[in-house]
């Protein structure tokens, strides 16, 4: 009966109920987006780092991957030594460099990754074949579009450019073997991958066998710390960044986002709370006579409170469910805008949907709805009966 009464009360003022539900839905959408934003980017980054199973990144001491042009000599030897550890499953040496595609009078500049295609963790092949041959490359969609190349085409690519002499160096004819999706590159960034040795030869890094980065995968994740320590001790010029180290740095850099989303999330909760409180208070005020008569004929205070709280909760839950859908749509839209953020991998999702986030948003708002209804409900159920009946009769 209480549930029937609560729903009937909401139906009585349909327009007001619909507007309230919409208001709560907007607050819920904002809250969900903020919860998704506060956890999504971090989780998305973690998933990205672990997407190919590499738990450690090795960089020249004091640098982050591709932060500078610094590189590590003796890549083959270092990789072999690390690979010799029983805990280590895979080591991938990577050299990063800018390359220029020579197209008659014009050139197209692109980022190039020198990798071992059999052990790489930087891209996923989308079409064609991998860059297994010394003169083969795989390129991303943006590169192919910019150079108007397609799989099977041969391109003249140079690794260096002397602006005084206006001449290119390290020029090679390379065949586009396949199309790939690069995991860590920003949206719109042109990229190719080719065998490490070929890029080393083109850039002049071959004589001392340089690499910009090593990625290491261990068989058992619990051995990451131990292997990291061994690498640091064995190679003093190398920094080891484990996934947890990287996440700590990401956390540090994302603290702004988290604070912002916490504040905006709290604001949307407060707005939802105030909205429901106001509407329940107005609704209760309009029905003072009815409520007092219910009490007079023997309806308990608890049941009156339950009925009014149910009204607030029903509005909140309806709004929260609607808001979840709305939040997902807005998150998707905002994600497409924010994914163009310069310098961030295109694969990063700012708003990563996790069911836990939706339950958190719905749960928080429902709790707000219950709390919002409690005070006006308790006040209404505690009105002095005789006095209020007299006032109602006079009114």
């Amino acid at each position: 009966m209480r549930f029937v009464l609560a729903l009937a009360s909401l139906r009585r003022n349909r327009a007001r109920t619909i507007l309230a539900v919409l208001g709560v839905a907007i607050a819920a959408a904002m809250l969900l987006d903020m919860v998704m934003l506060s956890t999504g980017m971090r989780e998305s980054f973690r998933q990205l780092l672990l997407s190919r199973g590499f738990q450690m990144r090795l960089t020249p001491r004091g640098t982050l991957p591709f932060d500078t042009e610094a590189s590590i000599p003796g890549a083959t030897g270092i990789a072999a030594r690390i690979r010799s550890r029983p805990e280590v499953d895979l080591v991938s040496a990577v050299l990063g460099a800018s390359v220029h595609v020579l197209r008659g009078d014009s050139t197209v500049t692109s980022f190039a990754l020198g990798v071992d295609p059999r052990a790489q963790g930087d891209y996923e092949l989308a079409a064609g074949a991998d860059a297994l041959a010394p003169d083969a490359i795989v390129a991303n969609e943006d590169f192919l579009r910019a150079t108007r190349a397609k799989i099977g085409d041969t391109l003249r690519i140079a690794a260096g450019y002397d602006p005084q002499l206006r001449s290119h160096s390290g020029e090679r004819a390379l065949v586009v073997a396949g199309r790939a999706r690069f995991l860590y590159l920003a949206a719109g960034q042109l990229a190719i991958a080719l065998p490490l040795r070929t890029l080393q030869q083109m850039t002049g890094a071959a004589h001392d066998d340089r690499a910009s980065l090593f990625m290491v995968r261990v068989r058992n994740p619990s051995t990451v710390k131990e292997v990291s320590r061994w690498i640091r001790d064995s190679f003093p010029a190398i920094d080891v960044i484990s996934t947890s180290d990287a996440m700590a740095r990401v956390d540090e850099r994302l603290s702004y986002f988290r604070q912002l989303s916490a504040i905006l999330g709290a604001v949307s909760l407060i707005v939802g709370f105030l909205l429901v409180t106001t509407l329940v208070t107005v609704s209760v005020h309009e029905r003072t006579g009815e409520i007092v008569v219910m009490r007079a004929i023997g309806v308990s205070r608890l049941h009156v409170v339950q009925q009014i709280v149910l009204e607030g909760t029903a509005m909140t839950v309806a709004g929260a469910v609607l808001g979840t859908g709305l939040g997902l749509i807005t998150a998707r839209y905002l994600n497409t805008i924010l994914s163009r953020f310069p310098g961030l991998p295109a694969a990063i999702d700012f708003f990563l949907f996790q069911p836990r986030d939706a339950w958190t948003a719905i749960g928080l708002l429902t709790a707000c709805g219950v709390l919002a209804g409690l005070y006006p409900a308790w006040r209404a159920a505690s009105l002095p009966l005789a006095h209020t009946l007299r006032e109602e009769a006079v009114a």
Binding site: M1, V4, L5, A8, S9, R11, R12, G289, E290, V293, M294, R295, A296, I297, G298, V299, S300, R301, H303, P384, L385, A386, H387, L389, R390, E392, A393
Partner: protein, 229 residues
């Protein structure tokens, strides 16, 4: 006959602008089971205050009110609410039906609160609405009923849990003369069928219909007489 209600030296003071207004000044009254009693008097004489005390929706400042042998003034909120639910039926001047519920649902409300099973509620509410001649208005909302019909629904609601005492505060106050007479007849029928009825009224017709009339003035009973009713 046995005494159903016993009020002894009941006083009720209300604070107003820092001073006490003495609504009731030492009222003592016995109401026997099966009685039909009308409380009359000028406005502000304390009729409704007395009715509120007899109905346990207010507590006396001093003195005692016993209904079916229980001192209702000493009960806590939960107990007194349950007591009203099971022992007292209220009829108000302005009907106070829930507009969102049908006539039958309004009658079912006190039974639902009392935990009566749904099938039994439905059966009894239908019987009660037939008793008040609204057997063809079960599904009507209050807004679809006339004033007299609404008051009859309110009377059926008051009878839902078979109360020992039916209290009515100006039950014909909002009705025209013809409809008022129908309600007066209904109260007469209810009393004839064994319900103890106490009405507060300005309506001479309703007072005449009662078998006992209590006259009040300035918070006191000034005359208590048997009526020809």
């Amino acid at each position: 006959m046995t005494v159903l209600v016993r009020a002894r030296d009941v006083r009720r003071d209300y604070p107003l602008d820092g001073e006490a207004v003495h609504a009731l000044r030492g009222v003592s009254l016995d109401i026997e089971r099966g009685e039909y009693l009308a409380i009359v008097g000028p406005s502000g004489c304390g009729k409704s205050s007395l009715l509120n005390l007899l109905g346990a929706i207010d507590a006396p400042t001093s003195g005692s009110v016993e209904i079916e042998g229980r001192n209702v003034g000493s009960l806590g909120d939960r107990e007194v609410t349950a007591f009203r639910l099971h022992h007292i039926g209220f009829v108000f001047q302005r009907f106070y039906l829930l507009p969102i519920l049908s006539a039958r649902e309004n009658v079912e409300l006190p039974m639902a609160e009392a935990g009566v099973p749904a099938a039994e509620r439905r059966q009894r509410s239908t019987e009660l609405l037939r008793y008040v001649d609204l057997g063809d208005r079960l599904r009507h909302r209050p807004s679809q009923l006339s004033g007299g019909e609404q008051q009859r629904v309110a009377i059926a609601r008051a009878l839902a849990n078979r109360p020992a005492l039916l209290l009515a505060d100006e039950p014909t106050g909002e009705l025209d003369a013809k409809t008022g007479r129908e309600i007066i007849d209904l109260f007469g029928r209810l009393n004839a069928d064994g319900t103890t009825v106490v009405v507060v009224t300005h309506d001479e017709g309703l007072a005449r219909a009662a078998r006992r009339v209590v006259h009040m003035r300035d918070g006191q009973i000034v005359h208590d007489e048997a009526s020809s009713g």
